[in-house]
């Protein structure tokens, strides 16, 4: 109960800060609109207002404060505006509609899941190779690290152009970018996990004359499970980011990335924010789902009580 109150207090503080921030962010636009509508604003001339700080304008025109939370195209939309837009574009729209966030969310989610599957599979394979071969450890690991130092925003258009030139388009290029971001945490986590068994446990297997593959299936792989799940949680969030970034440079017409892009073209900040929140909610749901699977698997394995 105590923790619920604490959590709600934090959320309330964030929402409050957000509402307060809306006032100075939107005041100039609100005053311009009010003046056009014939209201008396201080100072009266738009040219005089231009050089003034937002806070001074708020102080001089306190009547305009409620309007900063209700603009059609605010610089910073208020929380309830985002919430209403989210509700409208999910519950009140048919999911086949081009304006439905569920539809766009699914487009992004499918690329995310495909990319995550590819990235995870690749990550596990690389980790297995790295753990069992010194050559792979020395040759692959540095490249895996280098690959993550390149900003994905710079790399994504190249991946899409290269794949397009060989005739690959649609979900695959997005999934490739997703996989590119998600394989790395899986490699790092799995290498750590597969190396988790101590020398005593490895010696024990040696006294049984166990083969390398028996050691892998019976000791290394089960030992790595807690590490794998920690990596998967990072990986799935990275996958989602990858899929969204993959939608940006292509002028994609569908997906959360496309909604972000369209919103910024047309100054639809409410749409941008609701797409951002949809992405955040999606990521949280995916991570929570993985957490649930983790609990079930580890419980099944008898690792946790």
């Amino acid at each position: 109960m105590k923790s619920v109150i604490a959590v709600l207090t934090v959320v309330a503080a964030i929402v409050l800060f957000w509402y307060v921030a809306c006032v100075p962010m939107n005041i100039k636009g609100v005053l311009t609109e009010a003046q056009r509508a014939g209201a008396v604003v201080q100072p009266a001339e738009a040219a005089d207002r231009r050089g003034m700080s937002s806070f001074a304008l708020v102080a001089g025109n306190s009547f305009a404060i409620p309007a900063t939370w209700a603009q059609e195209r605010p610089r910073l939309p208020a929380p309830h505006q985002v919430a209403v837009e989210l509700w409208d574009t999910t519950v009140n729209k048919k999911i086949t509609s081009k304006r439905s966030l569920v539809y766009h969310g699914w487009v992004t989610l499918s690329a995310t899941l495909l990319g995550f599957a590819i990235g995870t599979g690749l990550g596990i394979l690389l980790a297995v190779g790295i753990v069992h071969s010194r050559v792979m450890d020395m040759s692959v690991m540095p490249w895996a690290i280098v690959s993550q130092t390149i900003p994905i925003i710079a790399l994504a258009p190249m991946i899409i152009v290269v794949l397009y030139s060989i005739g690959v388009q649609g979900i695959i290029p997005k999934a490739v970018i997703s996989a590119y971001l998600s394989f790395f945490p899986v490699v790092v986590g799995m290498v750590k996990g597969l190396r988790a068994p101590d020398s005593m446990q490895l010696d024990l297997l040696k006294t049984y004359s166990a083969s390398t593959s028996q050691g892998f299936w019976k000791l290394r792989l089960p030992s790595s499970m807690p590490y794998l799940f920690a990596s998967l949680k990072i990986g799935i969030a990275a996958s989602l980011v990858g899929a969204i970034v993959g939608e940006l440079p292509t002028g994609a017409v569908a997906g959360l990335g496309a909604r972000l892009l369209a919103g910024s073209y047309y100054g639809q900040t409410v749409q941008i924010w609701s797409a951002l929140f949809a992405a955040a909610i999606l990521a949280a749901a995916l991570v929570a789902l993985l957490g649930l699977i983790e609990r079930l698997v580890l419980k099944r394995m008898g690792v946790s009580a």
Binding site: Q201, L204, K206, K218, V303
Partner: protein
């Protein structure tokens, strides 16, 4: 007592190459262990007792001299499932039940499913853990976990049991209890046991022979054949014979070690 040599070491030497230069872990070690012997290795840390046990198990390889286990090289003996090894920590897999932990070597060695069940039941009985097969390791006490690990080492019927300070991490009360149980187990199964310890009472109580070792370089300084009877209740440790053997072990340890 020595009816048949099971382990035979001749002029055994082992030198580790470390960053600080070579370290002679074993120097000119000669020892014969007969079938059914209970041999303890005792000495301060760095005396090579664990290394010697690991050489018998082919976990380390000597740099000089020779060693045979059942007349074979340690590597061949391992492939012939000549020994079970018990480490200081139980090392049970937390994701496996006790029964499935004991099945681990059996799975690796390719025993049939039915045979695995039989063997698990038999060794669980041997270490007094009947009814605990379905439990996970964390549900058992430290002493029970170590008994389970002994059961695991016994499951594939090795003639030799090599134990590296198996009760070192347990408290004295549990240790006494397990020592008593181990003697009973040894009497019932007629295994040959190599037992590393740094406890003098433990070594004297358990062993038919006590090998005293000393460090830098690791070597054998004394081998004591115990005059104690095979039947050993715990209170044998208060008899003059027991104290005499313990005294000789202590003397041997002091002679071989300068306490610098």
């Amino acid at each position: 007592m020595n009816t048949e040599a099971v382990i035979e070491a001749r002029d055994l030497n082992l030198t580790f190459q470390t960053n600080d230069g070579p370290v002679q872990a074993l120097k000119d070690v000669n020892l014969t262990i007969g079938k059914g012997d209970f041999v303890s290795f005792i000495g301060p840390s760095g005396c090579g007792k664990t290394t010697f046990l690991r050489v018998m198990a082919a976990l380390e390889h000597p740099t000089g001299g020779s060693i045979t286990v059942n007349g074979m090289s340690p590597d061949e003996a391992r492939r012939n499932r000549a020994y079970g090894y018990v480490f200081q920590a139980a090392g049970l897999y937390p994701w496996r039940t006790i029964a499935r932990n004991i099945k681990l070597p059996l799975e690796i060695m390719g025993y049939s499913k039915a045979d695995q069940e039989d063997r698990v039941n038999r060794v669980l009985q041997l270490v007094d853990l009947e009814g605990f097969g379905g439990k996970y390791p964390w549900q058992l006490s430290g002493g029970m976990q170590q008994r389970a690990s002994i059961a695991r080492a016994l499951a594939f019927d090795a003639d030799i049991l090599l134990m590296d300070e198996p009760f070192g991490a347990l408290d004295e009360i549990v240790r006494d209890h397990l020592n008593e149980q181990l003697l009973k187990l040894w009497a019932r199964t007629n295994k040959t046991i190599g037992f590393v310890t740094h406890s003098i009472p433990e070594a004297v109580y358990l062993s038919t022979r006590i090998v005293v070792m000393s460090p830098r370089p690791g070597r054998i300084t004394d081998v004591i054949d115990s005059p104690l009877p095979a039947e050993r209740p715990l209170d044998i440790r208060d008899t003059p014979e027991f104290l005499e053997v313990a005294h000789r072990v202590r003397e041997g340890l002091r002679a071989g070690h300068s306490y610098d």
